[in-house]
């Protein structure tokens, strides 16, 4: 029933206080949020908590969501902003990102055996973490999440030319780092 609702109707249900609608909403947008946050922050113990914060913050501020953009874009922007806040916080407290145990996260991809998946996931994560934050956010949105250049520019609030130039530099670095896996 709820799974058949459009995004807009689902949001309206959440506004009415329907918790089941919120659960469906989380299921529907879990993947883009996890992609952004794990890509930005790496596989840390705090990553899932931050993703949970994104959805809870969405619920708490749902009245401000006017549906001018879709929920996916809105959540992605929130996920990027909250990841950037977390990176700033970590920098302030001089904490270093550490990879946690592998059971915490799963990689879903088709046509690869688990060993290859693990290698690729690990390699991509390490490569992403080696990029600086500006380039990383562009790569996640443009190459992993599949947003267009225009949408990426809109989410990050930067010109399209900047997206392309950052993508170019990031891609050069990634090409070197991932050449054995692609």
């Amino acid at each position: 029933m709820l799974s058949q609702l459009t995004d807009k109707d689902l949001v309206d249900q959440i506004k009415k206080g329907n918790i089941k609608a919120f659960d469906e909403f989380v299921k529907r947008f879990e993947k883009p949020v996890s992609n952004v946050i794990i890509g930005m922050l790496g596989n840390t113990q705090d990553t899932e908590l931050i993703a949970q914060d994104v959805f809870i913050r969405f619920y708490q501020t749902i009245d401000k969501f006017r549906q001018e953009s879709g929920p996916k874009t809105y959540l992605t922007r929130m996920a990027i902003n909250m990841s950037l806040n977390e990176i700033k916080r970590q920098k302030r407290s001089r904490e270093k990102l550490l990879y946690s145990d592998d059971s915490f996260l799963q990689l879903k991809s088709e046509g690869h055996n688990p060993a290859e998946d693990f290698d690729l996931r690990d390699a991509v994560q390490k490569a992403l973490q080696n990029l600086d934050v500006k380039h990383r956010s562009v790569v996640i949105l443009r190459l992993i999440e599949g947003y267009s250049t225009r949408e990426t520019a809109k989410i990050l609030k930067i010109p399209q030319g900047t997206v392309l130039s950052r993508l170019f530099r990031a891609q050069e670095q990634l090409r070197d780092m991932l050449k054995n896996y692609l």
């Binding site: 879990e30 996890s34 190459l143």
Partner: protein, 126 residues
């Protein structure tokens, strides 16, 4: 070379057909990178939505007035504007009544009646 590839990609496929072999090789390498990264999907372990919902319910149970405060905070600007409007209306009314009283004192009457209504209008006109 890759900048050119990006440039071409941002336009239409018409340009892609005009690439030189070396250029095309680099372009394809770029495409492989893109598709390779696009294949990677990170997800949290199963039951993520249950954990988020449980956390939200926990927050709401801890503070049952939270939703009330949230709705109140959204209503607050409306309440403030309405109050301001009513206040301005009351002040305006006071000024009108006060002005009328002054006029009545000036005219030597305590209230406006039929006999001094014309002089009242003349007074207002002047």
């Amino acid at each position: 070379m890759f900048r050119k590839a990006l440039h071409f990609r941002s336009r239409d496929s018409h340009y892609e057909q005009k690439m030189s072999p070396a250029f095309e090789e680099n372009f394809l390498e770029w495409k492989r990178l893109e598709s390779g990264l696009g294949m990677v999907q990170f997800t949290f372990r199963d039951g993520f939505s249950n954990r988020v919902t449980a956390r939200l319910m926990n927050l709401l149970e801890k503070d049952p007035m939270r939703e009330f405060y949230a709705s109140l905070s959204s209503l607050l600007p409306k309440i403030v504007y309405s109050s301001l409007f009513v206040l301005i209306l009351i002040i305006a009314l006071i000024f009108v009544i006060h002005g009328e009283l002054d006029h009545n004192v000036l005219m030597g009457t305590d209230r406006i009646d039929d006999s001094n209504f014309i002089s009242y209008l003349i007074f207002q006109g002047s």
